[in-house]
């Protein structure tokens, strides 16, 4: 009897491949466009990549398909185990920030998979960005496993695995143009419906140039802004957004002022004011929201930005819309 109780349950090790199939790529595309946002999940547990032995390294990741696939595809020709934590379909860094890629889940998953019996060593390699949720010394205390933080990017793993040392460059997170561009679709999808609604409404009231202006300001905020981020002047995202939105507004204000309308001089001037008041805060607000997608903004800084700029955005937008309504009503009612 006692034998049965002490014999460990054979752990279930799933097998994984380093190859990324067409179906995987289709899944990645959907994830990038926000389709079924939290449904891109891998089953948590232990996976064997290649033909690992009890001496093979164990790499830990999140159960988001993009994270898991990035890891396994970076390990071509390397025999190892992959321990997938249940992060509810969220990537390593975001899950670590939330604590789901954390000490508790890691210790739990080590036990649940019977990792102790699968490998003879006691070392886990975690992605460096997982450190926001994992306390290495506590994992050691609670499970006996030593946590080693690997490089930030999975593509540096083959190099890292040779020496178990990451050079300073491998430890730094970047935010390159491709890094920023892949984030555009998700944010674009989020603002699509309100943008179309606003534009449609303005169109119905005969304000087609303003409708196009709104679309331009939104696209400036969610598409142009991420691309131009490092080149826009000033440090704050809001001020960068105001500059970009201001340029967009200037174009529309000029069109409105010099365009062929029968409106009187002061009505034209009113429209210039409306464009300058309404459009820049839209772009600036969307720019400010991009802070959450970046790899470097601190919570202290973002809080400061919110307190400094959101009231300005509100006052500008509010008074601009009020003026827009007044001027549209006057036009519709046939006055001036």
């Amino acid at each position: 009897m006692s034998d049965i109780l002490t014999v460990s349950i054979p752990s279930k090790v799933r097998s994984a491949a380093s190859h990324i199939s067409l179906a995987d790529q289709w899944d990645h595309l959907k994830a990038r466009w926000g389709v079924n946002r939290s449904g891109h999940r891998v089953k948590p547990g232990l996976y064997a990549l290649g033909n690992p032995t009890p001496d093979s390294p164990v790499l830990v990741t999140a159960n988001y398909t993009l994270s898991f696939d990035k890891l396994r595809s970076s390990l071509k020709g390397i025999d190892c185990y992959i321990l997938v934590l249940d992060t509810r379909g969220i990537n390593v860094w975001c899950a670590a920030g939330k604590g789901t890629f954390g000490t508790g889940e890691l210790v739990h998953r080590i036990k649940a998979t019977g990792l102790n019996d699968v490998v003879s060593h006691r070392v886990l390699i975690l992605p460096q960005l997982g450190a926001t949720g994992v306390a290495a010394h506590e994992v050691k205390q609670q499970s006996g496993f030593k946590v080693e933080y690997g490089p930030v990017r999975a593509e540096d793993l083959p190099e890292y695995l040779k020496t178990h040392k990451a050079d300073p460059e491998m430890r730094k997170v970047h935010f390159t143009l491709p890094d920023r561009v892949v984030l555009i679709p998700v944010d674009f999808i989020k603002v699509l419906l309100p943008m179309i609604l606003a534009a449609f409404l303005l169109f119905l009231f005969g304000e087609s140039l303003m409708a196009v202006g709104i679309v331009a300001a939104v696209i400036a905020g969610v598409v142009l802004f991420p691309i131009l981020l490092p080149w826009l002047p000033t440090t704050d995202f809001s001020s960068k957004g105001f500059i970009l939105g201001g340029l967009v507004a200037l174009i529309f204000a000029a069109f409105s002022f010099f365009g062929e309308t029968p409106a009187s001089g002061w009505v034209r001037a009113g429209w210039v004011l409306i464009y300058m008041l309404v459009l820049p805060p839209i772009t600036a607000y969307l720019a400010l929201n991009f802070t959450g997608s970046t790899t470097f903004t601190s919570v202290t800084g973002v809080r400061r930005e919110i307190f400094t700029y959101v009231p300005v955005m509100g006052y500008m937008f509010g008074s601009g819309v009020l003026l827009l309504i007044i001027l549209t009503l006057i036009t519709i009612l046939g006055g001036l």
Binding site: A31, L66, H137, Y149, K190, G292, T297, V302
Partner: protein
């Protein structure tokens, strides 16, 4: 002017440092001197307050008011009247 990120809440007490080197390993912005055993604050202004160093410092020599620097999440939390939220919730579409 127009720089809200000049200062942050990172504090480090070198007297408590046991030279384990963990902070420079986990920091993604090179705030602590890398490849040196004695932790040294070299780029405090680059800190994004992710909290990895504080969590992995075995002696509590580092303190930082950590959180997710996401305006969307913070404004949403303020509107809902909850504490500042972090990203990646079940029903939050923020941050992946």
């Amino acid at each position: 002017m127009f720089n809200s990120y000049e200062s942050n809440t990172l504090e480090y007490d070198p007297d408590l440092c046991i030279k384990c080197g963990m902070c420079s390993i986990v920091c993604p912005h090179g705030v602590f001197s890398p490849n040196e055993k004695v932790a040294r604050l070299v780029e405090p202004q680059s800190c994004m307050e992710c909290g990895a160093c504080q969590l992995n410092c075995p002696t509590g020599a580092i303190s930082v008011d950590s959180g997710v620097g996401c305006a969307y999440a913070m404004i949403l939390a303020a509107l809902k009247g909850t504490d500042e939220v972090s990203c990646g919730g079940e029903d939050s579409s923020c941050c992946k």
